[in-house]
């Protein structure tokens, strides 16, 4: 992958992630039992970035997505929540992925990402609210996070195996 191709690929992934998270905001979430829960569809892109790009560039994708999604319809407080969640889940996913593809599939990686995102958000929320009892809400969020994480792991797995051009680019990376 040449430098320009990589730049374009990073930009493409970041743009898709931003659009997905904006669209996701427009979907009213049907679970009345868990206010504040989200599907976390943008996690598909983070998984793709982790599996197809070197660590530094995957980090760039996440950072660009975070800043742009905030600028296009967030506030300072939503930025703080999503930043804490994104950073924590990015490193968690990285650590889980390091365990090796023979033991962990995309499902494990994306559920880790989802739950760590919730943990990060609730930690910031309880820090802002100055009461750690906010964390008692974690099981509800984590349950939905695990379910959506499994679904997103399967979806990202489909994406990885079915996009032929992606294989081409990954082969290019190995040549370098």
């Amino acid at each position: 992958m040449t430098k320009n191709q990589r730049l374009v690929y990073i930009a493409l992934l970041a743009a898709q992630a931003v659009i997905i998270s904006l669209l996701e905001r427009a979907i009213p979430f049907p679970f009345a039992i868990a206010p504040g829960a989200k599907l976390g569809l943008a996690n598909i892109i983070t998984c793709m970035a982790l599996y197809t790009l070197p660590l530094k560039d995957a980090g760039k994708v996440v950072a660009i997505r975070l800043v742009l999604a905030t600028l296009l319809g967030g506030t300072i407080s939503t930025f703080m929540y999503s930043a804490a969640g994104a950073v924590l889940s990015f490193f968690g996913m990285l650590a889980v992925k390091k365990l090796g593809a023979s033991r962990i599939s995309l499902i494990g990686v994306s559920t880790t990402g989802a739950v760590l995102h919730n943990i990060g958000q609730l930690t910031v929320a309880s820090w802002i609210a100055q009461t750690w009892t906010v964390l008692l809400y974690l099981p509800v969020l984590a349950f939905i996070g695990i379910l959506s994480g499994i679904a997103i792991g399967v979806a990202a797995n489909y994406l990885l195996t079915h996009i032929e051009k992606l294989n081409y680019y990954m082969a290019l990376r190995e040549l370098r």
């Binding site: 206010p35 599939s105 802002i128 009892t133 984590a142």
Partner: protein, 136 residues
Amino acid sequence: MKAFLRVLKTGDLVIITVLISVSFLPFAVFYMQQSQNTNTDHEAVISVDNEEVKHITLTEHEGTDVFDISKFEDEINTIEVVDGRIRIKSATCPDQVCVRTGYISEPGETIVCLPHKLIVEVHTTNEDTEADIISS
């Protein structure tokens, strides 16, 4: 389902189990704390911007109380207390998460309205609680 099983590896199941148990960790800590506290009187504490605004005793509360909490002019949360349960009936915040949380009554439950920095918490009443009730 077939696709799911083909992707799934044993490591994933281990990770999911670990994540579920981690998510119940705050509960474990909380009940350890609660078991040392034998008092069963519940009270709700409403605070805005880390300042306590109102205490309500929930135990033996009867009937319906409705009142507004508005620290800043256009940030109004209407709170309703019905028979020992408390909820935010309506709010002027953009996300309405606090309203959808619904009623709470057990110690440790919270309603958080982050845009207004408002928290409703249910505690067990301690005897050594200082009796400074600040009403707005």
